[in-house]
């Protein structure tokens, strides 16, 4: 069986691993914090989404490079 496709897809898949783990860690910490101290949610939520944005940036950059270096 012949498999055809673009190696960039594999590159993007690799870059998404780090982002996925990172986003998981960010939200695990966020949920932990809110579970222990529910009144801190308002403070933690922007921080959690900032962390999400930073972490996900890596995966998104991977996607960009997968398309750019064709």
């Amino acid at each position: 069986m012949e498999i055809s496709g673009n190696l960039n897809a594999i590159g993007y898949g690799l870059s998404a691993i780090g982002g996925g783990i990172g986003v998981g860690l960010v939200f695990a910490a966020f949920i932990n914090g809110v579970a222990r101290q529910p009144e801190a949610q308002r403070v933690l939520q922007p921080l959690a989404f900032m962390g999400l944005a930073f972490t996900e940036a890596l995966a998104i950059l991977g996607l960009v490079f997968a398309f750019v270096w064709n």
Binding site: R42, P46, F49, A53, A57, I60, L63
Partner: protein, 269 residues
């Protein structure tokens, strides 16, 4: 399921051809049948349709103000208050959030409706899966928070934004470089591409499941149609999941907009 977007899966000699990104780039409407990018297309029509729909809905929901709202008014008020309170008030702060409520509400409804177009039969094109729309929205937000920052801090805003306090002198140069890249380059890029990529990927997955099911059910024999039923079921599941993702991405986009605005207008960094 997606009649226009499917490639010629019927060509038996070539076997199955998976849908590509360009199946989202349909021929233009004006002039009819022109190549994509040379005229007025379905995506632009949907953007204008969404503007008309949202305007009609919001104006109608807000015009007849009653103390005890009906279902229609309740839906409008509920989503409006959701954006106003749990995004604007909570993230920007009770003191300063009022001027930004229109921007947040417009962005939320615009993205929500444009995303949901991907799940409405016959429309079936999330307009935000075309990168131009995502660039335009994120660019608007980008310009807005830079202008807000300059208005709050003067030209020293750039120093406030890129030089974090409490960093040892030895590390200041790499930290500033990282901050410049992450704040002024990566931030708008990820802001737009997060929306674009999730919409594109979700739509592609559904298109793949649909065309795969169609190929397996109609072009194969033996046990293969059973697989077609499975891919069809998976496609339906992905369709429902995609609706959730579409709503979630609208929320995340507006949430990050509020976070960026808050970072620009707050005193300390």
């Amino acid at each position: 399921m997606i009649p226009l977007a499917l490639p010629a899966a019927t060509n038996e000699s070539e076997g199955f051809i998976a849908p590509t990104i360009d199946d989202l780039h349909l021929p233009e409407i004006l002039p009819w049948g022109a190549h994509y990018g040379e005229g007025f297309g379905k995506q632009m029509l949907l953007v204008l349709l969404s503007v008309a729909l949202i305007s009609w809905f919001l104006v109608a929901a807000s015009r007849r103000r009653q103390m005890v709202p009906g279902k229609f008014q309740f839906l409008g008020e509920y989503s409006y208050n959701f954006v106003r309170n749990s995004v604007g008030k909570d993230l920007i702060g009770e003191k300063d959030f009022r001027p930004f409520v229109p921007v947040l509400v417009s962005l939320f409804f615009f993205i929500l409706v444009n995303n949901l177009f991907g799940s409405i039969p016959f429309l079936q094109l999330p307009t935000t899966s075309h990168v131009g729309t995502a660039y335009a929205l994120a660019g608007f937000v980008y310009i807005m928070w830079i202008v807000l920052g300059i208005r709050t801090h003067g030209i020293g805003y750039f120093k406030v934004a890129v030089v974090p306090s409490g960093v040892p002198k030895a590390f200041i140069v790499p930290v500033v470089i990282i901050e410049i890249v992450s704040t002024f380059l990566v931030r708008p890029l990820t802001h737009s591409l997060r929306l674009f990529a999730t919409m594109l990927a979700g739509h592609m997955i559904i298109a793949l499941a649909a065309s795969g099911s169609a190929f397996l059910l109609t072009q194969t024999s033996g046990a293969m149609p059973v697989l077609g039923v499975l891919t069809m079921a998976g496609g339906v599941g992905m369709y429902l999941f995609e609706i959730f993702i579409q709503v979630l991405q609208a929320y995340v986009f507006v949430l990050l907009t509020a976070v960026y605005i808050q970072g620009s207008i707050s005193e300390a960094h």
